[in-house]
Structure formats: structure tokens, C-alpha cells
Symmetry: C2
Subunit: 218 residues, 2 copies
């Protein structure tokens, strides 16, 4: 049987046909996960549907955390998917050709001081930086601070890609710079990729070279 958030289930009708489905509109992820595990513990075979890749900042971890807390013995398999970082990178061109750090700006479950420390480390070691959860109504200042930290280590003209709702109907893609990035709309569905010292913008694409051009005649 299938357990999932209604919005995601609507995207995969072909997988639901003939199956028992528990769709939740408003149920929180913790409750959805509890329901799926309870059914599995009863012996049911349950697919818990997640958006993106369940293994990257998503539901897979909660499943294991909860199963451990409840001391459940159920077989668990994680099926990977296209995470926001894969999709957004593809829409922007090729910004993740070299070492990168993924950092969530949500301080709901992580102290902000730790997030700043990670931003500082990633900025100083020239990682491309993928920013998850850049902004919500309650956290409008986090992205402002993140940009400050990055600007202390990178030039203002560093390419920045801002992708909202990647591959969905309401997709928005903006290629901008560290200097100007705050002029673009950023919301809960946005992922931001900040280039490293090598990243360039070319014909509307954002590209982090691996360095072939320095080594081979292209």
C-alpha cells in the first residue's frame, strides 16, 4: 500500500492504480511516517512516497529515526530519486562539476551558530555551495547573513543560480551574482547554488569547470 502527501501522489497516478492509498493533505511528516511504520509493523508492504530524493534532507532519515526509537523490526529499503540539487543543477547548466557543500538554512532542528560555521567553512575552502531552505516567512534574514559570509570570501560577481520549483509548472530560474542575488524572489521552494572561484556564466548557463581547458586542448 501507498502512504504519501497528496500533492506528490497526484504526480504518480500510474503507480497508485489498484493499490490501497493513504493520502494526507495536511498530516505532518512525522504522522505520515508513524502511520507507514505502524502498517509495516503489522506485516503490510508499504511504500512511503517522498518528493525529490528521500535520502537527501528528506523522509528516509525520519523513517530510520522513528523505527529505532520504537525499536521496530521491519525491512526498510530506500529508493533514490532526483534531489533538488540534481534537478536545480541540471536546469542551471553544470554548476556541480566540482566539490560542493549542501547546507540548509533552516534552524528548526539545527542551531543557527552551527549553520553559520558550515557556511564559513564552505565559503573559505572554495566549495560550490547549494543552499536548501534559504528563506521562509519566519526566517527572512538567514539568506542575508549567508550571503554576507560568502561575500567575505568571494567576489561580488560570483555566479549564483536561483531555482524555484525546478521542473514544475511554476518553475523560475534566475542566473545572477552574489552581489545582486537578494533582488530575486526567494521562497520555500527555492534552492540556491553559489559558484566557487572558477564558476562562470556562459550563454545563460552556470558552469563550474573541472579544469579540462587547462589540461587539454578543447
Amino acid at each position: 500500500m501507498i502512504v504519501g502527501y497528496q500533492t506528490y501522489l497526484d504526480l504518480i497516478p500510474e503507480f497508485l492504480a489498484g493499490k490501497e492509498v493513504i493520502a494526507s493533505q495536511m498530516m505532518k511528516e512525522v504522522d505520515r511516517c508513524r502511520k507507514a511504520l505502524a502498517l509495516a509493523a503489522e506485516g503490510r508492504q508499504v511504500a512511503l512516497v517522498s518528493g525529490g530524493d528521500p535520502g537527501i534532507y528528506a523522509m528516509a532519515g525520519l523513517v530510520f529515526e522513528m523505527a529505532r526509537e520504537q525499536n521496530l523490526c521491519v525491512a526498510i529499503e530506500v529508493i533514490p530519486g532526483i534531489a533538488a540539487l540534481n534537478a536545480c543543477a541540471a536546469r542551471l547548466g553544470a554548476p556541480l562539476m566540482h566539490d560542493f557543500a549542501a547546507i540548509s538554512l533552516s534552524d528548526l532542528l539545527t542551531p543557527w551558530a552551527k549553520i553559520e560555521r558550515r557556511l564559513e567553512a564552505a565559503a573559505s575552502a572554495d566549495f560550490v555551495v547549494v543552499i536548501y531552505n534559504p528563506k521562509s516567512k519566519k526566517r527572512a534574514e538567514h539568506i542575508v547573513r549567508a550571503r554576507e559570509i560568502l561575500l567575505a570570501h568571494r567576489p561580488p560577481e560570483t555566479p549564483v543560480g536561483i531555482v524555484t520549483a525546478a521542473t514544475r509548472e511554476n518553475e523560475r530560474i534566475v542566473l545572477t551574482t552574489l552581489e545582486k542575488m537578494l533582488a530575486s524572489e526567494i521562497d520555500m521552494q527555492t534552492t540556491i547554488i553559489v559558484g566557487n572561484s572558477m564558476t562562470f556564466a556562459w550563454q545563460g548557463f552556470m558552469v563550474t569547470p573541472r579544469g579540462y581547458a587547462a589540461k587539454y586542448a578543447l
Copy 2:
């Protein structure tokens, strides 16, 4: 038409039927890319097939680097896929639930000093670390040094997942620790995930909690 490495094309016969295919056994990636771009510049519609996600340490960047060098005007679209980090994380459990850094240990196109600086930064800021290209015949010592750097910041019992040839026939999965990781076989097809300070091993899985258990009753 389709251009790709024979090994990858063999995995997708259903997409090749009825199409012109240029398969290369031994052609280097630079040559394959050059061929695909030359055909596109002639007006052909070309799919350049890559393993994993072409956008993560893979072919997409080379396409853009070369198109820019050659000043080509061709339409380019990148289709994302399941990168090694997505696949390996899924096979291990849920190690990438929180901020992580992806670092390649290949110094073919990157100075080793820069790689060490990134390892140091990621280790000190408590990122989960995904290590690409941990070892080749010519670079057996890089993973030894990477482990030293990580051990300076993390306890020896930190969980480490070693996945070779994820989802393929010869897949090998080892869940071990920073202390013991070098006892496992590591080769060119291996990706290594090193946990952060919160990562735990549970029933053969490697899990980095997001912190729900501290916030909610699970």
C-alpha cells in the same frame, strides 16, 4: 542520435532502437564530447549519454567548457540522473539527511593542497563527507591522508559507509568506522560516506538524524 560509452549504452537498449549510435569503447571523454558537439553543430540532435547524473562530477561540465572554448552556438539541455551520492546514500540507509560536502580525491585536475583544505574545512565544520574517487592505482595514499584529517576532528567510531558499484551486479556495501575503514577494499568504483557527529549505525544502516527525536516524541 546517441553518443556514449559502450558500457553505459549496454544498459539502455530500449532507448537505442532505431537510432544512429556512436558507441565508444576506449575513446576518452574529451573525444566523445568533441564528437557529440561537432554533430550538434552540424544541426543534428544528439544525446550524449553519461553514467549517474551528468551534472555531478560528470560530462555536463565538459560539454559546456568545450562549447565555450569552441564558441559554438548549440542548444544544450542537461537531464539529471541518480548520482553516485544519491545511489550510495540510499544503499547505506540515510546518511545524507543533513548538511554534507562532496569532495573528489582525484588530483588529476585539482591541486592536492586544495583538496586537503576542503577536507579540513568539511571535517572541522561537522559536514557529512561524501568522498568521490577515493583511490586509484596511482593515488593509493590520498584516502589514507583524508582519513587522518577526518580523524583529527571526529571520533574513531564515526560510522563510514563504503559502497562500490552501487546497484550494479558487482555491488559491495560495507558499513564500518573511521578507525577501521582502510581494512576494506576501496577502488575506482567506490564512493565513501563519512558520518558527522550525529550519524549512527543501526541494524546495518547508516543514518544521520535531522534531529526529530530531540524535538518530537517519535
